[in-house]
Every structure is written in structure tokens, then in C-alpha cells.
């Protein structure tokens, strides 16, 4: 299968690889996918509580080149956006940017799911309504 140059670039030079402190109240963690399905993405955001701007984003991905590229691109796009702006990122934007072939669209869906999961986690932590915090 021929990959686009952008996929290859993200694969060869993945942006923002790493992990943020899960227990930090300003960090939201999303983990989506399953090893049996061949892809797992972990995406984390660190939000400035005053401005609600995402000041840092990190990822780690087990999956094919397109999955790695989709999550790498997602972290690039997240940085500097507000939480609400981040929710507007659509999987189709990732498909277009990386020129993903039809069989790889699920990788972009997974990346969108990871963004949503990280934001949900952050909101849950940041909203002091629920006092029970699960690890």
C-alpha cells in the first residue's frame, strides 16, 4: 500500500510522543481501541484552567502507520485550541489532511474518538460536581 508523504512524515517523525501526568486535574486522558483490533490510541491534553486553552498534548499509539499519523496530527492540531474548538475537529479533516485511503478511515475515527475521550475525561475532572474521581 502506498502511503501519502504526510503519513510517512508523521510516522518517521511523530509529534508530541509521550505521556502527561494522569493525576494532574488539568490533564485529560483518552484511551480508545483494543489490542485485539490492532489499534490502541492514548491521547492526553493539558488545559490551562484560566483560558481553557490546550497548552500541551501528547500521544502514544499501537497501530498501523495511519493510526500513528492520525494521532500525531491530532496532537498538533489540539495545541493552542480551546477545549470547545478541539471538539470541532472531525475525522474527515484528518482523512483529508493525511490523504487516507478508504480502508484507513477507521484510524481517523479512532483519533476523533481519542480527542473526545480526552476532553470528556478532562471535563469530568475539572467539574467539581462529582466528587468521586476514578483513577
Amino acid at each position: 500500500m502506498a502511503y501519502s508523504n504526510k503519513v510517512i512524515d508523521h510516522y518517521e517523525h511523530p509529534r508530541n510522543v509521550g505521556s502527561l501526568d494522569k493525576s494532574d486535574p488539568n490533564v485529560g486522558t483518552g484511551m480508545v481501541g483494543a489490542p485485539e483490533c490492532g489499534d490502541v490510541m492514548k491521547l492526553q491534553i493539558k488545559v490551562d484552567p484560566a483560558t481553557r486553552i490546550i497548552e500541551d498534548a501528547k500521544f502514544k499509539t499501537f497501530g498501523c502507520g495511519s493510526a500513528i499519523a492520525s494521532s500525531s496530527l491530532a496532537t498538533e492540531w489540539l495545541k493552542g485550541k480551546t477545549v470547545d474548538q478541539a471538539l470541532e475537529i472531525k475525522n474527515t479533516d484528518i482523512v483529508t489532511e493525511l490523504a487516507l485511503p478508504p480502508v484507513k478511515i477507521h484510524c481517523s475515527v479512532l483519533a476523533e474518538d481519542a480527542i473526545k475521550a480526552a476532553i470528556t475525561d478532562y471535563k469530568k475532572k475539572a467539574t467539581p460536581v462529582e466528587t468521586t474521581v476514578s483513577a
Binding site: I8, Y11, M31, A34, C37, G38, V103, L110
Partner: protein
Amino acid sequence: MKLPIYLDNHATTPVDPRVLDAMLPYFKDNFGNAASRNHAFGWVAEEAVEKARKQIAELIGATSKEIIFTSGATESNNLAIKGVAQMYAERGNHIITAATEHKAVLDTCKHLEKEGVRVTYLPLKGDGLIDLDMLKESFTDKTILVSIMYANNEIGVIQPIREIGKLCKERGVLFHTDAVQAVGKVPVNVIQDNVDLLSLSGHKIYGPKGVGAIYVRRRSPRVQLTSQMDGGGHERGMRSGTLNVPGIAGLGEACAIAGKEMAEETARLTYLRDKLKAKLESSLEETYINGTMEHRLPGNLNISFAYVEGESLLMGINDVAVSSGSACTSATLEPSYVLKALGLGDDLAHTSIRFGIGRFNTEEEIDYTADKIISVVNKLRELSPLWEMFKEGIDLSKVQWTAH
């Protein structure tokens, strides 16, 4: 050393230059039809075909008359299984095969199931071998054929063909083996192995694509097949169609070379394979060999690198041609059914790589490949959330995943 390196010799092999030399005269100068009995052009072609028939027969312990030429192993498998099912329909309608057979066998069996044939698909033991007791229990008085491959194309595991053949013989059941990966690589003898039908192919043994053969036993018992194509009645009526003379000449030469050089080649490939295995295992933890090492083709290594997805690994070693059991590399988006049949979890199937070392690989290429794999696996593990969790001591089997 020239890049890219070809280490996918179970998929296909390059044509040996000596094989090509044997083929070339039959394209242009000696272009005759082997079925033309009344002129020199035909005689020369026929002579080439009969020479090849003898070379093939010698490699597998058969006689020339028992070799039928086909377009390849897919056709041979179709002809063997459908041909027996139709010819022996009055005797019974039950076939036994295994879950890890090639699709040319499995899909042929599925086709026959729609026509009322009953098929038993034997599961495999964790080491990739057939459970002979289970096979014994699967025979019924309606069983007419057992079809079990000689050596597997993904994990290289060699089945106990002789024992399987004996069980079939004792029960008067015909035994077919898809020996595409085994012929020319390990000693095959249809008499000692109790084989009645055997499929082989040119392009897996440094011969050309588009040519293969089927061995059909002529004595004790004399096996008959219903032909699957109507036409001029070539090949004792079992396979009509003008013979592919250059291809057949090449297949014959490929068999002759394989037979002559087998011992030496086996030693060399085993050395290279074991070196690759040792290098990978000593530098990388959490690697798993798929299938037994004890009964295995010399050039095969199938190994899972836990927590690293196969396709992403292939992408990182793009100057080395290997294949993966990962879903992402298959047309069906399903992980390897062979690895799954060994009871391997989907997660390990996704992380598997198949190396197929062949006649033209060098030690330098193996060293380069090992170093490259090690560096890419390490890089991808740094990227893998599963590796991170494993290192934190988290039991991944207990994690609640959000499957999609």
C-alpha cells in the same frame, strides 16, 4: 548489498538463472505444441515435457506417468479435491481437512459443502501440528478424502505426513497433500509418505509462475479424478489444455536443482534462520515464536513482537520485504486465520512477522534485517501505550477496552 532485501520467499521466489536458461529455448526456436505427434516441432516440445515430468517424479519418489501438469497449485488443489469428491461420490461424501490450510483448499471445500459434501475442519494444537488422535476420531464410513498440507505457508510447520498417510491407508481413504511449501525444501517421498495426491508449484521453488503439477497415484490404489475442464483430453484426460512447455521445462529444472542441492541449502538456510532468531531474541524481550521450531521449514521464522502492530513495523523496515499476520496487511482486515487457529490471541496475531529466507539471501542481508527490526521495534515500543502499560506492570488482559 543491494536494497530492498527480499525475505518473503513463502509468497514467491525469484527464478533461478539456471531455470531460466532451461526455459528460453522453448519460447522461440522450439515453440512446438507437445501434442503435435506428427512433426519435429511437436517431438522436441514433447521431449522437453517428458524430461520435466521425470525430473519432478524423481524429486518426490513418483513415476513420470503419475505427474499431471497444471497452471499452479491452486488448480492442483481444486482438481484433487473436486476431482475426488465427484469421482468417488458413490463411495462417500465426507472430507477431512485442517483449519490452517491454504485458501485454495479451504474455499474448494466450502464450495463442495454447498453441493452436499460434508467437511471436517480439524483444529490444530498450539504448536501448529495436527492432533492425530483427533484425526482418527474424525473418520467415518463416508470419508473419501483427507487433505492436509505438508508444510504451512505462514508458520512453516511440517505436519506428520507419513503418519497421516498411514492412517488414511489403513482405512482405504485417499490422502491429498498440498506440498507447495515442502517440495524441494524438505525430503518428500510419496511412497514412504503414503500420499495419493500431491500438489506442487513452480514459483515457490525458484521456477516460473503459472505452472504447477499434481501427483496422482497409479498403483495401490490407482486414483482417478473427474477432470474439471473439458477439452482435448491432455494429461491422461485429467487436465485438458495445451501444455505450457517453457514453464514445464522450468519447473522440471527447478525440481532437479532443488533435489541436487537440498542438503547443502537446508544447512545454509537453517544457519541463517537460526542466526536471525538468535539476534532478535537476544536484543528484544517479549518476542514469541509462532509454531514449533522442531518440525519446521529451514527458511521460515514467524515471530510476534508484542505491543508493536505488524503493519507499522513493516512500514519502518520498508527496505526489507517480509509479511505480517496483522489485519491491516490483509485484504479482509482480519488477522491471520492460521495464527488464530493456533490459539494465539488476536493481539499477538496483529504483531506477527513472517520471514521467508531463500536461496539467494546472504548473511549480510540477515544481519542488516535483524539490526533494522531491532531498532524499529524499539522505536515503536516507545510509541506504544501497550508497552508503557506492560512496563508499569498492568495486566492488559484485565483492561476494559473500548473495542470499535
